[in-house]
Symmetry: C2
Subunit: 312 residues, 2 copies
């Protein structure tokens, strides 16, 4: 059976997976990301680690059928990364670099959020569909679009930047990206807390949220599940923003399944229900009643998706 490597390069650690072509994960491991010298050490660290783990499995690099790599920055179809400040990288062909270092020809590079979406399509919450959108709610809001089983990359590698869809034209505060009213300002873990603080400041109703020592997205969902009116209102508002963004996605790419991932998605059904309600209110009839599901692969989505890129 053919063997593949899937790699997910993050700002802190680099995750690796050795896979069989049927999707079986044989081994996974990680190494720290050494960002010094503008990230110049990263490709060689990766190549070294790959060879080491291949040898342990009594494999030569010539026996590796492909290597997929997810990178935290915009990547075009040709495997060129366009500025990746998280790693210190400028613009260069990461695909060529890895071909050179490993001798493996079949190498594909993708944006990490897009690659994770492909992973969820293949083995996670999107299983069974080839047209999915993933929205990842963590420290920031990321996402990706997969159409006919392939990542939608875009002309500059910036497709699927769902976190920076505008969902509120009247937002006075500036997003990290410089715009106003981005989804990330409301639906990231920090955004959720910020919106809660805003509401508490202008609202005098009694709520468990006031008694919390440290307000958190989890605390807000927990209070909502226990029926706290203010917390429920916050979840409703979050559902509006996410439902609205999902409606844009539907009107433009008409996916079959929405997969919601990231730490915030641990809230579960209450979150999916809130999104779905506002989604249905904001799409044409022909687009109503899509599936909203939770992500399943957690931090492994990236290595699965990386391998899926080189399989197909």
């Amino acid at each position: 059976m053919k063997t593949y490597f899937g790699i997910d390069i993050g700002g802190t650690t680099i995750k690796f997976g050795l896979f069989h072509e049927d999707g079986e994960l044989l081994e996974k491991w990680e190494i720290p990301t050494r960002k010094e010298h503008a990230g110049a050490l990263i490709p060689e660290d990766i190549a070294f680690s790959l060879k080491e783990h291949a040898e342990k499995k009594k494999l030569t690099m010539a026996e590796i059928s492909g290597i997929g790599v997810g990178v935290p920055g915009p990547v075009t179809e040709d495997g060129v990364v366009h500025q990746c400040p998280n790693l210190g990288w400028g613009t260069f062909s990461v695909a060529e670099k890895f071909q050179e270092l490993t001798g493996v020809e079949n190498i594909k590079i993708g944006n990490d959020a897009n690659v994770a979406t492909l992973g969820e399509m293949w083995r996670g919450g999107g299983k069974g569909s080839e047209n999915i959108v993933m929205i990842t709610l963590g420290t920031g809001v990321g996402g990706g679009v997969v159409i006919h089983g392939k990542i939608l990359t875009g002309s500059r590698g910036a497709a699927g930047e769902i976190g920076h869809l505008c969902v509120n034209y009247h937002e006075p505060d500036t997003c990290g990206c410089g715009k106003h009213g981005c989804l990330e300002q409301y639906a990231s873990a920090t955004g959720i807390v910020k919106e809660a603080k805003r509401l508490l400041a202008r609202d005098s109703r009694e709520t468990k949220l006031r008694d919390m020592e440290k307000l958190s997205a989890k605390g807000i969902f927990d209070a909502a599940k226990l029926g706290d009116t203010v917390a429920l209102e916050l979840v409703e508002q979050l559902g509006f923003y996410l439902g609205m963004a999902s409606s844009y996605l539907a009107q433009i790419v008409d996916p079959e399944v929405y997969v919601i991932g990231g730490g915030v998605s641990r809230a579960g059904k209450i979150l999916l229900d809130a999104i779905e309600k506002h989604y249905d209110e904001n799409v044409m009839d022909a687009l109503k009643q899509k599936e909203f599901r939770l992500a399943e692969l957690g931090n492994d989505a990236g290595i699965y998706g990386a391998v899926k890129m080189v399989l197909s």
Copy 2:
């Protein structure tokens, strides 16, 4: 040289084009759309007209290398049309029907707005790029998305429904689709006039628009070009809605070129400039400064795009 037919089925007329594979349009003609009997006559009317025109050119149907067809309703990749009230059609495989009637194997069916987008990519305003979005501003607002030279169809054939992107959460009036705040409510020819009337009703400033016997989108643009403050404000507002919708498109699919078509686009540069300004304000840095161009093929975009579907 290989010969192809491109067909654009509209609610009133059916347009035909006979093309060489290099894109040369050898002949074009049209027939009325006979909608009686739930549109059952349409396929046979088309097949008859094709044979007649092939014979005139001393071609047999066996010498036709492919037929592409644009249809005013949702079409999935398999050539199945899903309800097409404009023609009276229910759900059936239009591709199979035409294979049966013509004996030609290479048949592709697409949604008319999507097919027109492909036509503009091939021979019109999008020439030179394989990643374009078209927004058509006419009686309604339509559009399409082409990625890597292929129409983005979506899981239910409803991708590219740009006219029903929500661009105003506070709109009290209902769109034809049943939602509120759709782009079509502001950027269609009738929407532009409606917004003008709204503004004139609540505003007492002097403006040429009040003297017009019949307010029209063209009249508003003409007044704006002559410096009429109120008309300029209306163009600015239109630019906001179109720029905002274009920003959603960028954040999701990252196209290279936006092509603006339909009757309203005859306003020209003043319209493109207004869209571009608001577009740049509402996208991430990596997506700024895209090309906004005017459509070039007019009513022929559909027959060009139909042929392009069967060429590739």
